[in-house]
Amino acid sequence: MNLSRRELLTTFLGAPLALAACRESPRRFPDGDIVGQSAELGHILRENRTFQVPADNWETKRVAIIGGGIAGLSAAWQLRRDGVDDFVVLELEKEAGGTSSSTQGPIVGYPWAAHYLPVPFKENVDLISLLNEMSLLDGVDVNGEPVGKEQFLCREPEERVFFKGRWYEGLYLHAGESDEDKRQYAEFQRLVDIWVNWRDAAGKRAFVVPVEQCSTDVEFTQLDKITFADWLSQNGLTSERLHWYCDYACRDDYGLKVDQTSAWAGLFYFCSRVRKSGVESQPFLTVPEGNGQFVNHFLTKVGDKVRRSQMVVSVVPTENGVEVITLRNGELRGIRCKDLIYAAPIFTAPYIIRGFQNDAPFNAAAFQHNAWFVANLQLKDRPKPRFAKDFPLAWDNVIYESPSLGYVTATHQKGIDYGPTVLTYYYPMCHDPVGRTTLFNYDWKQLTDVCLSDLSRAHTDIYELTTRIDIMRWGHAMISPRPNFIHSGIRERAIKPYRNIHFAHTDLGGIALFEEAFYHGLRAADVILVGDRG
């Protein structure tokens, strides 16, 4: 193994694996490409140009929406539901969807990032109406809680974890637990249950989706000042496997390690999806293409309003509205609108909104994102179990000793249990202080090597089975709920309109979730609609 390969594998997978992998350098690379995100926008914005739109390239709209991710599409969906038709969605990429994008393959679709949504609580009426519109629900149970249709509820076996040569059911590793591990796990559950059941004076829950509806009682908000790792040790929770479990949860939901995540966010993960103590957390709705199903649904409703490959390069607030300038194939066009919904990542605001820097209502740079890469592996067949009684392929398959998050099996939910499949492999760059830079320093071949070397710990036949790997490098994947962000007051300021610009992005929740994007999309649309009526 040459030095740079060892360096690569050490960077991504750690020294022990890099050493072990020496023996098994890939005999053959599958086909594949780096896909997705255009880097052009960043370059253009950094040049800090002024944009002169030719006079007859202007048009007028009631509302313009920047960004065709979940937030932008949700806003569009809401506007149309309320009878507003004079709007346009401007999307930078060739396809809408943002971090909920997916691709339709010959056997099944597969996601490029977001892949599931927990069934909401009954209070989340707007989301329930979307799910009903999509026929994902089967009415309500005796308590009036929505019930997912069986074919969309994540099929068992849901998760398995690979540890020392074997797969085990579930995510928390029970095999080989000591009595102390068990005690700590029970203690952790007990603490979680306390927060699950807790209500503040106004009857608000401590942790609930969306974040806007959580209690702001200092008892909780102070949890945002420490890391989740600190919280665990303050509570005497030192068990290695419990620590791993919490670390996994943080990496999976936030792209951060347990010692980088705010304790508030860590607990949010465990508490916000549990109705009351003793009941299971809300089941997941999923389909092969993941949350791409919502994008596709929105497109059936508002697809005619979505303009793709439209890079918004400048937003100019004016006396009676906003001017939006887009660049496409070197051509500048302008839209004059009364209101603008800004559903692109928040950190971009100062680069795009003219004058934002001078009287900044909030520090946009505080909205920090982390980097991920996601690989879709086309397999001609399933990996063979090492022995007959090993726990079988699940929906989510996690490798205990890996800094990656393992992979999700696209065919699982469809009951397609034999033959070709697609695995979606997730890798958050949280082990690296300059993760984004590191990620973009490596090319397709190197990232493919990382992915296959990692998976070959559990599947020795992965090299033979994989026919193609496409890799998405998400430079700005998820907002990072590090300590002192969610409850620092900055989100509240960003949620308020800036002149006629209404921000709407999952960033505003402080965590990257479908429900947050949806909530803020609808909220921004509603503010505009209320303004129209009043």
Binding site: R27, C154, R155, E156, G165, R166, P392
Partner: protein
């Protein structure tokens, strides 16, 4: 002794083979057990220490050194040569794989450890000590290098583990035989011949192993099945084995008995005819899900009114068995050659989800028991709901639902699942000697009376008017448990868990 220098070639080959066996053991064990760091370091440790033991033991060999040397070389050849296949087989069938593994590594290590000291003693009179030690040890280490380079670059990718093992065994034995010529002056002629015969036998055994490397699995199966294996095939989905015994043919899938020709008619008559009895009128369109052996189809085709039989079975290899084993073709009365039968090879779940057809009058469901999640989905509310799209209000469905005696909860879990999916269900059971007490569900989308007689004008060996009604009676030990059972859904797979616990009690 002839040409001592040629004996040095022996050293390099012994060293190469020795290290190959060691690498093989480590690779096989990390392949099947995982955790390669541990496996490699343990195997290397055990092997090296065993070599030490061998070297020590060499002092106890005083006489006939040349002869012993060759015998040891042949022993290494046969044990080392068979080591990889032996390890694979013992992993598949023995629970104490670790013991076999380390014993094998220890034996090979000890034997290899014996060889070098003996060889040095054979050569000691030909060379001075300085020369001897330097040449033998240098070649020994060079051999190790050859092995460690060949192994990952050429042997594993090109030959695979089993063949590498066998090929090196043969090489090893070949060198042993060759040594009988090199050391001829040191061995009495009579013993020489004997040694050559032994060497020849070792080579033959290993060569047979090499030719049959693929059928080694079958070899292992012969020991597992009581009767003679007359057909064995690993399809994409399962291992299919047909055996022939005194009372008839048996078909096994992954080692689980599917039927014995001696009493399968009991099982298949009970699977098919209650459905026809419950359908009002003449059944024309019939759907069979599973049942790739064609035996359910045979029963269905007894009805002259049936115009179309759609059979959906996952495995094309299953429907082929009837052609490959003529006795089975006869047993299903060549059902697949009947123009009324159409066979589709796909997963029934995916088929129900994706293919739209006219509804069927009678549906026969004959899947393997729900012993894994891929099979468990075929017994869920989702599956039975998908099935509804293929039914008319009056259609009758019969489902095999495992043994209500051995797996009582599993059996009643399926009944509850059917009810939860909106079916009216009449559970029934019968006795099939090869299986024991076996259970079924007769179900319809509307309430119906339990049929009391089998349909008229069909030739039956088992069912008759007198006893038909008693199929639907359950003695106390198989009746519905009085505690609550879960409904089997895709998102809980409760049935697989019931089934696992209940059948595990019967595994050794």
């Amino acid at each position: 002794m002839r040409r001592p220098s040629l004996l040095f070639l022996n050293v390099i080959i012994i060293a190469t083979c020795g290290l190959i066996y060691e690498l093989l053991a480590a690779t096989v064990s990390s392949y099947v057990l995982g955790d390669s760091v541990t496996q490699f370091s343990l195997i290397i440790g055990v092997y090296l220490s065993a070599m030490g033991v061998g070297s020590y033991l060499s002092r106890f060999i005083d006489k006939d050194i040349a002869e012993r040397f060759i015998e040891i070389e042949l022993a290494v050849a046969i044990i080392g040569g068979l080591s990889a296949p032996l390890l694979f087989l013992s992993f598949a069938y023995l629970s104490y794989f670790g013991i076999v593994l380390y014993t094998l590594v220890f034996i090979v290590g000890t034997l290899v450890g014996l060889e070098i000291p003996l060889l040095m003693r054979i050569l000691k009179d030909k060379l001075d000590f300085k020369e001897l030690v330097s040449r033998v040890l240098a070649l020994d280490y060079a051999g190790a290098l050859v092995a460690s380079l060949l192994f990952p670059i050429f042997l594993v990718p090109r030959l695979g583990l089993n063949r590498t093992s066998l090929v090196f065994g043969i090489l090893n034995a070949g060198v042993g035989i060759w040594a009988t010529w090199l050391l001829e002056p040191m061995i009495p002629t009579r013993k020489l011949t004997l040694l050559r015969v032994k060497g020849f036998i070792v080579v033959v055994i290993l060569a047979i192993g090499l030719i049959k490397a693929d059928s080694l699995t079958t070899l292992a199966e012969d020991g597992l099945f009581v009767d003679n294996v007359i057909y064995a095939k690993s399809s994409e989905y399962q291992r299919i084995v047909v055996t022939k015994g005194k009372v008839g043919y048996s078909l096994f899938l992954n080692g689980n008995l599917q039927f014995n020709s001696f009493d399968e008619y009991r099982y298949h008559e009970a699977l098919v005819h209650p459905g026809f009895a419950a359908f009002n009128g003449d059944a024309k369109r019939v759907l069979i899900l599973g049942g790739g052996d064609g035996l359910a189809a045979r029963e269905v085709l007894k009805y002259k009114t049936v115009e179309q039989v759609q059979l959906v079975d996952l495995d094309p290899a299953m429907t082929q068995v009837a052609y490959s084993v003529p006795a089975l073709g006869e047993l299903n009365k060549h059902a697949f050659e009947d123009p009324r039968v159409q066979v589709t090879n796909t997963d029934a779940f995916v088929w129900l989800d994706n293919v739209s057809t006219e509804p069927f009058d009678v549906v026969i469901i004959d899947f393997p028991d729900p012993n894994n999640f891929a099979l468990g989905k075929l017994y869920t509310t989702r599956f039975y709901n998908l099935l509804k799209q293929k039914l008319k209000p009056d259609s009758a469905v019969v489902i095999q639902t495992t043994s209500p005696l051995i797996a009582r909860q599993s059996f009643w879990c399926v009944m509850k699942t059917l009810e939860a999916s909106g079916y009216t269900v009449k559970p029934f059971q019968t006795s099939v000697p090869s299986f024991g007490i076996w259970g079924y569900a007769l179900a319809k989308l509307q309430p119906f009376d339990t049929p009391t007689k089998p349909p008229e004008n069909v030739e039956l060996r088992f069912l008759n008017n007198e006893t038909f009604a008693s199929l639907f009676e359950f003695p106390s030990d198989t009746s519905k448990p009085d505690f609550d059972l879960e409904i089997n859904r895709l998102d809980n797979q409760a049935l697989v868990r019931y089934y696992e616990t209940e059948w595990r009690r019967f595994e050794q």
